[in-house]
């Protein structure tokens, strides 16, 4: 604090704003450096390539399926966590926070271990193959995003006064009717924002996917896997195209969720 003190006293707010800007500039320089790598003709040829199209397709399809499953499970789970008291609720709550904290590669490895157990092998042999297969991408994305989706939707439901449901119930609505006609429509924007974020997270999922589904060109080659494969082959210009695609998606999603958040608060 010694020598900084006069500076700080002078304009602490400016200093704080400077800190925010330095972070901004840090991220901005990273983005800018991307454009030094992009060669227009190579860029176009990759964009037109079948392999790029495959990555986009597999990423979108798997992320979409993951999002649908996550939301279907997360909406009732979030409702239960927000509105009801049940046994082991703290334990359930704790477990749903784990994917937020634990390394996706550990989660992917856990899945891999599970499919090496008796039960896992039974599922693999008789129902669906996950390891090094497309369904593995989906379950890897699900394991890293379901907990987060539940938290986000719970936050959206928490914001809605339970008294709306109380009133609906005194007016003759059952628990489910009160939920479906009042809480669900009121939480709609929050749920959509959570779904969009889950989709974005799933598109970008790498650690769990590479562990369970592997990095197999034209098979489990999602956009992040494609970046990984291109970098492994020192194809930096090629990687740049995929990075740019992910960034564009990220910006779109951020702006989308903000639009929905604004509607909710407005």
């Amino acid at each position: 604090m010694w020598s900084l003190k006069p500076l700080i006293s002078m304009s602490f707010k400016n200093l704080a704003v400077m800190a925010a800007f330095s972070l901004f500039i840090f991220y901005f320089i990273l983005l800018a450096s991307l454009f030094t790598m992009v060669d227009a003709s190579k860029f176009l040829s990759i964009l037109k390539s079948e392999r790029f199209y495959f990555s986009i397709k597999i990423s979108f399809i798997t992320a979409f399926i993951t999002t649908v499953i996550s939301v279907i499970v997360a909406v009732p789970a979030a409702y239960a966590l927000s509105r009801t008291n049940f046994r082991f609720k703290p334990a359930v709550d704790l477990f749903l926070e784990l994917p937020l904290i634990i390394s996706p590669i550990a989660l992917g490895a856990l899945l891999l271990l599970f499919f090496n157990t008796g039960a896992g092998k039974l599922i693999q042999n008789n129902f669906i193959s996950f390891v090094y297969e497309v369904p593995g991408i989906i379950i890897a994305q699900f394991v890293t995003s379901a907990g987060i989706a539940t938290r986000l939707i719970k936050a959206a439901i928490d914001e809605i006064s339970p008294r709306y449901e109380f009133v609906a119930r005194t007016l003759g609505a059952s628990d489910f009717k009160a939920f479906s006609t009042i809480t669900l429509p009121l939480a709609k924007n929050g749920i959509i924002a959570a779904a969009v974020l889950t989709f974005a997270k799933s598109i970008g999922e790498f650690g769990a996917t590479v562990t369970l589904a592997g990095a197999m060109p034209m098979k489990t080659e999602t956009l992040p896997i494609a970046i990984y494969l291109r970098l492994s082959n020192a194809d930096i210009e090629g990687a740049a195209v995929f990075i740019l695609t992910l960034l564009a998606l990220g910006f779109t999603v951020t702006l989308l969720t903000r639009a929905f958040a604004k509607v909710r608060h407005g």
């Binding site: 109380f166 009133v167 609906a168 119930r169 005194t170 007016l171 003759g172 009121l186």
Partner: protein, 360 residues
């Protein structure tokens, strides 16, 4: 008729103890209590959101204690009104009718009448977000009454309304009660509001009903210190019974004065020498005109004005009786001006023996 029988509840450190009162058909009952006394918990228990530990809620002879809120036939207007924000006012009003799949036709005349009476026809198509507090409240009342509930519950009914508009809202509700046969329970911390709207009042303090009865009895004769203080009684004195007559008793007052009390037949329970507290509301103490003869009046004392708090309609005068006790007097602006009251002025005050009451 609604009966609350020995209701007990435990929520964490908080509990309701043996709550019991009745609401006659068509009557309005107010549960009056300070913040944290358990008003909202009581109300949620009656509605069925909280389940009872013991005791019963009986509505028109039917024990609803174990029923879900949907089948209790109780309508509820919460403190924050809670009109469903994603529906128009009309859809809000019809929510209960639709969700119960009731036949709309026979209900519409009454709903229409309520809509007109409460003046919300112009806003039926609007969504709640643009409405004023008063409009929301009126819409919520129509929503609550649309399916003809057996009991209407209002939680702090006017807290969402700007204070300048509350008087009109109160009068409208009072008129609504007069025109329709509505059995109602209101919950409030506001003494004036409870007195204005309710026929009976229960005073709830720290989870227990300390007094329940007719509005005037509660207002004029609170039975214990907690209720008296909460109800704004400011003249409370320690005393001892001096003598007991058939229809009155005499008690000591500061400096050897005596005070006659005729309130009810309460004196039967008392005997000479017993320690009591007596009290009188500040608006029941009169300042006599300078030329009036106190001989004929009972409970007259000489006093000197200590402090004057001026307000709009009523002023408050604090005066010291010769014996030392301070008595607080609320006096109407006109009388105040006529008597030319001022600090230090010597006055004669009179305490109507009917207005003096004994508290535990």
């Amino acid at each position: 008729m609604v009966k609350i029988e020995n209701l007990c509840m435990d929520i964490g450190v908080f509990s309701l103890k043996n709550i019991a009162f009745e609401i006659a058909k068509g009557a309005c009952h107010a549960v009056l209590g300070p913040t944290g006394s358990g008003k909202t918990v009581l109300l949620e228990t009656v509605i069925g959101i909280q389940s009872v530990k013991s005791g019963r809620v009986i509505i028109d002879g039917r024990d609803v204690s174990a029923l879900s809120p949907a089948t209790r036939d109780i309508a509820y207007v919460p403190q924050d009104i809670c009109l469903f924000p994603h529906m128009s006012v009309m859809d809000n009003i019809m929510y209960g009718v639709r969700v119960r799949k009731l036949d709309t036709a026979p209900l519409m005349p009454m709903i229409d009448e309520l809509i007109d009476f409460l003046g919300i026809r112009p806003i039926l198509g609007r969504h709640p977000s643009g409405l004023s507090g008063g409009e929301r409240q009126r819409a919520a009342i129509v929503r609550a009454l649309a399916a003809k509930p057996r009991l209407l519950i209002l939680d702090e009914p006017f807290s969402a309304i700007d204070s300048a508009l509350r008087e009109d809202a109160r009068r409208l509700l009072k008129e609504l009660y007069a025109r329709h046969d509505i059995t109602s329970l209101i919950v409030t911390h506001d003494i004036d509001e409870a007195y204005f709207l309710a026929d009976q009042i229960s005073v709830l303090i720290a989870g227990a009903v300390v007094q329940s009865g007719e509005r005037d009895d509660i207002y004029n004769y609170p039975k214990n210190i907690a209720a008296a203080e909460f109800l704004g009684v400011r003249n409370i004195y320690d005393s001892a019974v001096e003598s007991v007559q058939e229809r009155s008793l005499a008690a000591s007052f500061c400096g050897g004065y005596k005070i006659n009390i005729t309130c009810g037949c309460a004196q039967r329970k008392f005997s000479a020498g017993q320690k009591i507290k007596w009290a009188i509301r500040s608006e029941a103490v009169y300042i006599l005109k300078e030329d009036s003869d106190p001989a004929g009046k009972s409970n007259c004392f000489d006093a000197e004005i200590n402090t004057i708090y001026t307000r709009g309609k009523m002023h408050t005068v604090l005066c010291a009786v010769s014996g030392g006790a301070v008595i607080e007097i609320d006096i109407h602006d006109a009388a105040f001006n006529k008597l030319k009251l001022a600090r230090g002025k010597k006055i004669k005050i009179s305490l109507n023996p009917d207005s003096v009451f004994i508290i535990n």
